[in-house]
Symmetry: C2
Subunit: 497 residues, 2 copies
């Protein structure tokens, strides 16, 4: 579905909009989520928690976004979390040098390229300021972290975390010891990260304040192939776009391990779980791929990286970076903090290795919605609905009186209160024609709508309508709580009502 | 219950612990929540959302924590969000001048006192450095906001929000127009705020990065007494500690309005809803009060303030500030942004007034847990359990095999999987004696525990045990999903099983 549909929907239903928009010069790259947007966004986090954290027995933490300088000296971010930038000598506009070269030449500028090499490319291709055609300065490195000074004399230099995983590395040893479960041990966190992007763009796709849901699996590298439930995914096919291969290959986890396409079973297992999660979010398998990154494209801490991407009208969009970070982080923090972060298992002390699934919350939000938009011709009219899975829908059910008279609204309120008392998320609406009201909840993805009509007044039955098929069934009011409960946990399908 | 019990429990079960603790000089005032802590903390937010946002038809947003300077010029925070501080001329330690005076003299130093007056008090009472007895500098004002520079030339001065409500004021007009529901309109947000406290202390009670759940009710001041559901709270008694009165009075909402104790029905209504929420969180009414603040003690934007406080072993702890902010905020942002933020109702244009309920998430977490700790003598042993309401418990149910042999663990896993498939939050444990396992889930507040024993292997029944009473009932495995569902939404009580 085209990006425009989503932008229109976002605007019409306040799904998201710029931060501090009433102020003329508010900085770009900051976004607010409106009431419907928040519900869907929270549901994405809750579904991630349910499917990946809860079911996989991971531990979740909630840590501070402000961390001391020493953390980022040890993590390498002070040295390496940079973008190469150039400034126009005439109009003083700033640009990312790598992006200018990519736009002009189509070539990819890897993270590892030195600033001298980038300077040479700019000269070679005679690249000028895209705004005024002025000459460009030499390239300099710009660190993307945001600095905050703490304390009454502001003598404690801190930074806003550029990735949520740093808390996880800092907390690892405490949680490892307390959990007594040994390795592998997975720790997860969902929260905000901060990056001073030079050119935030495409709304939620490149933000300065971004939501991340990150999972770090700590494991013994000698046991990368000891994975308890590997048999559950052995035959499941990953969508892999390997280095130096044409196209996407469907390869089972078992084969991916056997052919050494991934470093071990643990990695195949987690790629599978992640892909399954996004399938459950409603994204078609044919629009997914794990793209393998080469050494130059990988982040500075990664030995093996698979970017999970989804094909949209904007091209492939990266939702998750899957990084084999080795012992890079714990080793760094051991040195930086002078605390020994090694563990002892099987009479051997070692620093655990880490495999990471770093998902963008807002990118997931954007792409899941983009992929869920459905348009159907219905006679002369076009119908638009959001095909969200029940777990992500902003409300489980809408409650409508057919008309706003003859006691129907009062009866509808009774039904609404009944369902609310059972803790279902419900929305009530009595304004406009019933068709308009169905359309309003369809476009925000509400899976079921209950209508109170004149028959209800006689026999205490209502209609329940399914969003996608628009089919209706007649059921007793008293059966609604159990029925909705079973629909919401997937223990009943609408057609079997 | 004594604070020590909670600190011990927090330590033993990793409920919370200092951020970046492996680094020697990490700044104070930052905290991490461990796996059990996160669950309870998330449940507190979800329960607030259910009881106050959802049931009261408020709109919720999720906004950025970074906001531009102009916002805080308009909000008054750049000018007024200050603490008075003094420095020791000898050892250079910094102190809050108001706190030093309070400690030495017992007198209260109001927010409105000028620095000259504070200087005079320090001289008059001959106050010295508490660390080295050195002389103190003159008082200066210290702004508690944290500055962040945005953009590649760092030319956009921003601040981390010191209160989550600022996004709400900035977003108000857009959401007001889109909602088409008119006033009163309530908007809520839960998230992080940041205050560069000079002396963070008492763990979660004074943090530099703090969780807030804020509600702003926008209303027409001429209609402060038009409250749709006021009759539901008219007879409900507020616990009020009024200015210049001895002790706490129980006063019904109706009387509070009639006697002009509050500015109108809208305020009484929301104080009642808030007090009811904390009752549902398990805090005894006898330990609550709304303390009325006088003009000098109120925040700079407030016309009427009731601090909701709970009595603990540390004294009264403020959990929520309830501020009648008038049109202060929207007027300020209208001027600052040059956007007209007035609304037009009944042919009259006006700036809505605001009543605010600003709750601390982490303070609520701390106090709810503190108040939930129960100790019971059981023969020679002492039993400790956390009497959390089911909505706040980290898990709904624990699943235990009586012993780890004879197929009982396998059967227990079956039951666990069954319940997990119904999306209940469950915990499995087979380590140690059954008594130890009950104790472990009791102390983190899990309300129910299911045990698989030898009878289970014969007839597919299990025992279900209630945390508080330790009573057990025998039920069929197949009845568990519906039974737990009804227990979790309050439609069934344990004694009626």
């Amino acid at each position: 579905m085209p990006r425009e549909e989503l932008q229109n929907l976002a605007l019409r239903r306040q799904l998201f909009y710029p931060t501090a928009e009433i102020y003329a010069n508010a900085p770009a790259g900051f976004w607010e989520f409106g009431p419907i947007g928040v519900r869907i966004r929270n549901n994405i986090i809750a579904f991630w928690r349910k499917e990946l954290v809860e079911r996989e027995r991971l531990l979740e933490i909630h840590g501070s976004v402000i961390l001391p300088r020493a953390v980022f000296e040890a993590s390498g971010h002070l040295k390496s979390f940079n973008d190469p930038i150039v400034q126009c000598k005439k109009c003083h506009a700033l640009f990312r040098a790598d992006k200018l070269i990519e736009e002009k030449t189509g070539m990819h500028v890897p993270e590892s390229m030195s600033i001298e090499e980038i300077d040479k490319l700019i000269a070679k291709h005679n690249i000028k300021c895209p705004k005024c055609r002025g000459a460009l300065s030499n390239v300099r490195l710009f660190n993307m972290m945001m600095r905050v000074l703490i304390g009454a004399t502001q003598n404690q230099e801190c930074f806003l975390r550029p990735e949520t995983c740093q808390n996880i590395f800092l907390d690892f040893l405490r949680l490892y010891k307390a959990s007594r479960q040994g390795l592998p041990l997975g720790i997860a966190q969902a929260g905000s990260s901060f990056r001073n992007e030079i050119a935030p763009k495409q709304t939620l796709l490149r933000e300065r304040e971004l939501g991340q849901m990150e999972i770090e699996i700590f494991f013994n590298p000698d046991k990368i192939n000891d994975v308890e439930h590997f048999d559950e995914v052995a035959d499941y096919k990953l969508m892999l776009q390997r280095l130096n291969r044409e196209g996407i290959e469907e390869i089972s986890c078992e084969q991916a391990v056997k052919q050494n396409i991934v470093s071990g079973k643990l990695i195949a297992y987690w790629l599978a779980r992640l892909q399954q999660f996004y399938e459950k979010c409603g994204i078609a398998k044919q629009k997914m791929r794990f793209r393998e990154l080469d050494a130059e494209e990988r982040a500075f801490y990664a030995k093996e990286t698979w970017d999970f991407e989804v094909l949209t009208d904007l091209g492939w969009i990266e939702l998750v970076a899957c990084n084999y970070r080795t012992d890079y982080d714990l080793k760094g923090h051991s040195l930086g903090s002078k605390k020994d972060l090694s563990v002892k298992e099987d009479n051997k002390a070692f620093i655990p290795h880490v495999f990471e699934l770093s998902a963008g919350i807002d990118r997931t939000f954007y792409v899941v919605l983009d992929q869920a938009i459905r348009k159907e011709k219905r006679g002369k009219e076009e119908r638009l609905y959001l095909d969200l899975p029940v777990q992500l829908a902003p409300y489980l059910v809408a409650v409508f009186p057919l008309v706003s008279k003859d006691g129907l609204p009062e009866k509808a309120h009774e039904v609404f209160t009944l369902l609310e008392d059972y803790e279902f998320f419900c929305i009530y609406d009595e304004k406009g024609s019933i068709g308009r009201r169905y359309a309003r909840v369809d476009e925000i993805g509400v899976p079921y709508a209950i209508t109170i009509d004149y028959d209800t007044m006689k026999d205490d039955t209502v209609t329940i309508r399914e969003r996608n098929t628009m089919k209706q069934k007649r059921v007793a009011i008293e059966s609604l709580p159990e029925l909705l409960w079973k629909l919401s946990v997937g223990k009943l399908s609408f057609q079997n009502i």
